[in-house]
Structure formats: C-alpha cells, structure tokens
C-alpha cells in the first residue's frame, strides 16, 4: 500500500513553466529566526538564562512586570523563564527524534529500494504498513503503558513511528536512482551492493533526508504538545505542551499569558522549519511534487 504523496506524478505545469531557482537569500529570514531559537536553547543549556522556570516565589497570575516580563502562572512561576526553558526542551525532543528516525528510515528505505522485491523489501514494507496502521497517539499511549511511564517512552515511540515516512520516500527515490547509468556502471565494475549504496546512492539521497529530518523535527515538536496535554509526554520538566496543558485550565478564568507565550513560540518554530523545508525543496528540485510533513497534531 502506497501513500498518496508517493503516487503523485511530477508536476507537469512546473516543468512547462520552468520555475526559476530561488536565490540563496530566500533562506535568510527563516534561517535568522531558527538561529534565534537555537540561541535561546543553547543559552538554556549553558545556564545563561531560563534557569528559574521552577521557582515558586511570587504571587499567582501576576501581570507583566519588571521582575516577570510575561507575568506568572497559577503557581507563581515566571512565564518568560518557562518559555525559554521550554524552547530548549523542544530541541531536546526534536533533534534526537529527527536524527535517529531519519537514519533508521534512510537506511531501511535505501536497502528496501535497492533490493526491491527481495525479502528485505517485503519485510520493510510490512513493518512500515503495520506501524502506520496503528494510530500514533494510541501507539504512544500503549508504549507508555508497557514501559510504565519510562522517561524515554515518548522519544522511543516517536522514533519508532516517524521513520516509516522517511523509509517510504527513500525507498521510492532509491528505486529511481538504482536504474540510472552510473549505478549500472558501478555494478558492472564489480562493487559490492553495500558499497554502492554507501558511496553512490546515499549522497544522492542527502537533500531528501534533510527534508525528511526537518519534517520529523516538526512532527516531534508538535506531537510533544499533544502528548503532554494527554499526560503521556514531558514529565518533571517544562515544555510548550506542559504550559498549554496548564493554560487549558486557566484560560476560562481569563489568564491568557501562559497560553499565548507557549503557542506563539511553538508556532514560530514550526512555521520557520516548515518554510525552510519548502524553500529547500524548491531549490534542490523545483519540478518534483512537494512533500508535506505528515503529522496529525
């Protein structure tokens, strides 16, 4: 069973129009914003700011002031500090999940695509189909249940499910590449399949894998919010999801700062990475049909 995005034919209109390559400067605004987010996260990791997110010392639900730039929450904790610390948490979840799920998906997808219709291919396709048929949030719930609240249950569940999208796209692209002349030449030259995949196929997959990694990053950051709201996400720490879950109890009482801070930071990061992925796709292959991040959060 194939996903529709894989079945979508090349955009003929774009080929006719011959859309121009975007200049590199098109990346600048999004890269700048992403840099700001990274700066916040690195500062939190180095202990420069965002350290006082758990301090309970002030009155509850204070408005913005000199001491508390964005006011305080129900426990009198500083919302600005929590927003900064939560930014670091987002990267702590998004980066490992993106890297590992892309690696696994890339390797399995490339192997399946290179040895198309072999037992490896069948096994990978079966695993992809199976994991995709289990609704994601229920899968996380079941895994959290099985691991009885293990701190890495959420990361594990995300990696275990996000690699399938990468594997599917990589498999299709590898099948296409494997038919090209230089691969045939490498085969005729007597190179081993493993070496062909590593030296000749993988380099051509890099742009695709980068895009998939950015999608996995977005999916992880967004899924964290939903999972923390459902009570199976971040525990003993602060994240945008934790802040929004808190806020869902207090907005009806008219306290919006927690909700607005977390949502705005979340939206900014997701929008920025989405835009970068879009621009990047335009640049490296303007003719191909756009891929979309596949997340249901």
């Amino acid at each position: 069973m194939r996903r529709p995005s894989a079945a979508l034919p090349v955009n003929r209109a774009a080929r006719v129009a011959g859309s121009a390559r975007r200049p590199l400067s098109a990346f600048a605004p999004a890269l700048f914003v992403l840099g700001l987010y990274l700066l916040i996260a690195v500062g939190v990791w180095l202990g420069l700011w965002g350290q006082g997110w758990a301090e309970i010392g002030s009155a509850m639900w204070e408005g913005p002031s000199q001491d508390h730039w964005l006011g305080t929450n129900r426990l009198g904790q500083d919302i600005w500090q929590r927003g900064l610390a939560a930014t670091a948490t987002a990267f702590e979840i998004g980066l490992p999940v993106a890297v590992l799920s892309t690696l696994i998906g890339g390797l399995l997808g490339a192997s399946a695509g290179f040895f198309a219709h072999s037992w490896i291919d069948e096994a990978v396709l079966w695993l992809v189909g199976t994991l995709e048929a289990i609704p994601f949030y229920l899968f996380v719930a079941a895994l959290a249940f099985a691991l009885s609240g293990h701190p890495w249950a959420m990361h594990l569940a995300m990696i275990a499910t996000f690699w399938t999208a990468t594997a599917r796209v990589t498999r299709a692209e590898t099948q296409r590449i494997a038919k090209l002349g230089f691969i045939e030449a490498a085969r005729a030259g007597g190179l081993r399949p493993r070496r062909i995949i590593r030296r000749h196929v993988m380099p051509h997959l890099t742009p695709l894998l980068l895009i998939q990694a950015s999608f996995a990053f977005i999916a992880a950051v967004k899924a964290e919010v939903v999972l923390s709201f459902l009570g199976i996400g971040v525990d003993d720490s602060v994240s945008w999801g934790v802040m929004i879950a808190e806020a869902s109890q207090e907005i009806l009482a008219g306290f919006y700062l927690n909700f607005v801070t977390a949502s705005a930071l979340l939206f900014g990061l997701v929008m920025t990475v989405n835009r970068l992925a879009d621009r990047f796709q335009d640049r490296f292959d303007p003719k191909a049909a756009r891929l979309d991040a596949c997340n249901h959060a």
């Binding site: 069973m1 996903r3 529709p4 995005s5 079945a7 979508l8 034919p9 955009n11 003929r12 209109a13 006719v16 079966w126 695993l127 189909g129 199976t130 994991l131 048929a133 289990i134 609704p135 994601f136 949030y137 229920l138 899968f139 719930a141 079941a142 895994l143 959290a144 249940f145 099985a146 009885s148 967004k222 919010v225 939903v226 709201f229 459902l230 009570g231 199976i232 999801g241 929004i244 806020a247 869902s248 907005i251 009806l252 008219g254 919006y256 909700f259 949502s263 979340l266 939206f267 997701v270 929008m271 989405n274 835009r275 879009d278 049909a289 756009r290 979309d292 991040a293 249901h296 959060a297």
Partner: protein, 317 residues
C-alpha cells in the same frame, strides 16, 4: 464481474492478512504481554503462594506467548474485550455508548472540512500564482503550522469566551439547535485543521490535472471553468484525493476525538480513552488500540480495492 476480477479481489484481501497480524501482534505485545503485572491488584492482603499462583493462572501469565496471542486474537474476533477496571462496565458496552457521540461530534466537521478544502484547492489551482492562490496557500501553510491543540483552545477562547456565540464546553443534545450550538466550536476547529493539511495536497493534484492534455482539449472546445473543474479535473483527480482522504481521516479523527472530547468534556470514545490513558486501564486501552488499527487496515484495503476496480490500469500492479 468476471473471474479475473474476483481472483484479484481475493488476492488483495489475502494481502491484508500480514498487516492485520502485524497490528494485532503489536497491540498484544504492548498492552497485554508487556503491560503492567495485574496480579497484585487482584490478590487480597497477605496472599499465600497458592493464591498468587491461582490469580496468575487466571490472568494467563503462566502460559507461553504464542498461546496467549492466539487467545487474544480469538477474544478480539468475538469482541470479548473484558471489563473496565474502574466501573466494571463491559468494554463493548462502553464503546457502544461512546462511539455514536464521537461520530455525531466529528462527522459534520469532517465532511465540511473535506468539501471546503476541495473548493479552496480548485480556486487556488484555477487562479494559480495570483493573489487568491497566494492567500489560500498562505492560510493553509499557517493552519499546518498551528498545533491542533492550540487551535482548539484558541477557537474556544474566541467564539466561546470572547464573542460568546457558542457554549464554552459540555454536551447537550436534547434538540437539534442545542446539538448545533454544542458542536459549533469543535467543528470550526476541526475544519480549520483539515483545511490546513488537505488544501495544499488537493491543489497540487489539481494544478497537475489542469495542465493535462484532456483538460486543454476540453478548454479548447470552450468548456466553462465550472464544468471543466467538476467534470474533468475533479473526475480525474478523484483517485489520489480519495486515497489521501482515506489515509488522513482515521488518524485525524482519533486525534480530534482525544483532544476535543477531553478539553470540552464531551462523553465520546476519545474522552474514555483519555481517562484510560491517565488511569492505565488495560482492557479499554487494549480494545481501542487494537480495534482502531484493525479497522484502519480494513479501510485502507477497501480503498485500495475500490481504486483498483475503478482504474483498470492499476490492476496489474
């Protein structure tokens, strides 16, 4: 139908069996086999070794994995799903009570969201590159970047608290007006989310179709934009659109049901599942995870089958 087609249908149905075994095996392993040990919840104070053994035997902990998996499959096939821990109610009874509520809550948004996404995609594809197209793709990109949860809470704030048009939460379905007022905010949120990530895909399919030879031909013969869009573009793009809808609907339904029902206190299957997640209720979790995965596999197989029956070119694949 001829025999070749029947053979094809049978092969496709058989092809779903490995997937069904896969999803049930994972559900079994996660919720039953590696699930928390229930022995100590069930034995009395200061149990003897014999009592503990007896409970473990009742729970099936003394048997081997394959044997327990087969038993799990039989239970699932006969819908013998056990009882909810907190209330002792039968799981099938809970599902029968809550699933209709969730469907009543989410179906209007689902239909509305898909139809609106199609209409907007047609507009964007027709005015490709113009300001209307940019507006629609821009709004849909924004919708894609917003978290479902943020949209739900935001819409509740705007329409329930701020403007005060609709109830802030709760579920009253005594008459049709009440029903409409209570599904208004959830439906708006649901429509916005489905617009976000369907419009772009539908637009891409339609842009592609608009430049095809047969559409060019119809255009040359002077077909009106409306008939062109409905008869030529939509007709030809139906298969990818149908596949997309079938792939994206079940996950978004489950996410929506979980988030909307727990946030708006609506007694649907999502809220029951949310409570089961929080309290670690094994029977209910097991039932929801395995049944929804099995239904998803069946729905996808059926879609695949329908597409291939509708389009003979796909049958050889």
């Amino acid at each position: 139908m001829d025999r070749a087609l029947w053979g094809f249908v049978a092969r496709r149905l058989l092809g779903a069996i490995p997937l069904l075994l896969g999803v049930t095996l994972i559900s079994f392993l996660l919720t039953v086999y590696f699930g928390p040990d229930k022995t100590w919840d069930l034995v009395g104070l200061n149990p003897t070794q014999a009592e503990v053994e007896q409970i473990r035997e009742q729970l099936g902990y003394d048997r081997a994995l394959p044997e327990r998996y087969v038993e799990f499959l039989l239970d699932l096939a006969t819908l013998d799903l056990g009882h909810v821990e907190a209330t002792g109610e039968r799981v099938t009874e809970v599902l029968r009570r809550t699933i209709p509520v969730s469907l009543m809550l989410l179906l209007p948004g689902l239909v509305l969201g898909t139809v609106l996404a199609l209409l907007l995609a047609m507009l964007a594809a027709w005015y490709r590159g113009r300001w209307l197209d940019r507006l629609i793709t821009g709004v849909s990109a924004t919708g894609m970047s917003l978290s479902f949860l943020v949209i739900i809470i935001g819409f509740q704030l705007i329409f329930g608290v701020g403007l005060g048009w609709f109830p802030v939460r709760g579920w009253v379905v005594d008459d049709f007006g009440d029903y409409l007022r209570h599904i208004a905010v959830p439906t708006l949120a649901f429509v916005f989310v489905s617009l976000g990530y369907n419009t772009r895909f539908f637009r891409a399919v339609m842009v592609n179709e608009l430049s095809s030879d047969q559409v060019m031909n119809a255009r040359a013969f002077g077909a009106s934009p409306f008939s062109l869009m409905i008869n030529n573009v939509l007709g030809n793009a139906l298969l990818p659109i149908l596949t997309r809808v079938m792939f994206s609907v079940p996950p978004i339904l489950i996410t929506g049901s979980l988030l909307i029902e727990s946030h708006f206190s609506i007694p649907g299957v999502g809220r029951v599942t949310y409570e089961a997640i929080l309290s670690g209720d094994q029977a209910l979790l097991m039932a929801v995870v395995s049944l929804s995965s099995v239904l998803y596999v069946l729905a996808l197989t059926l879609t695949d089958l329908l597409c291939r029956c509708a389009d003979p070119r796909l049958r050889s694949l």
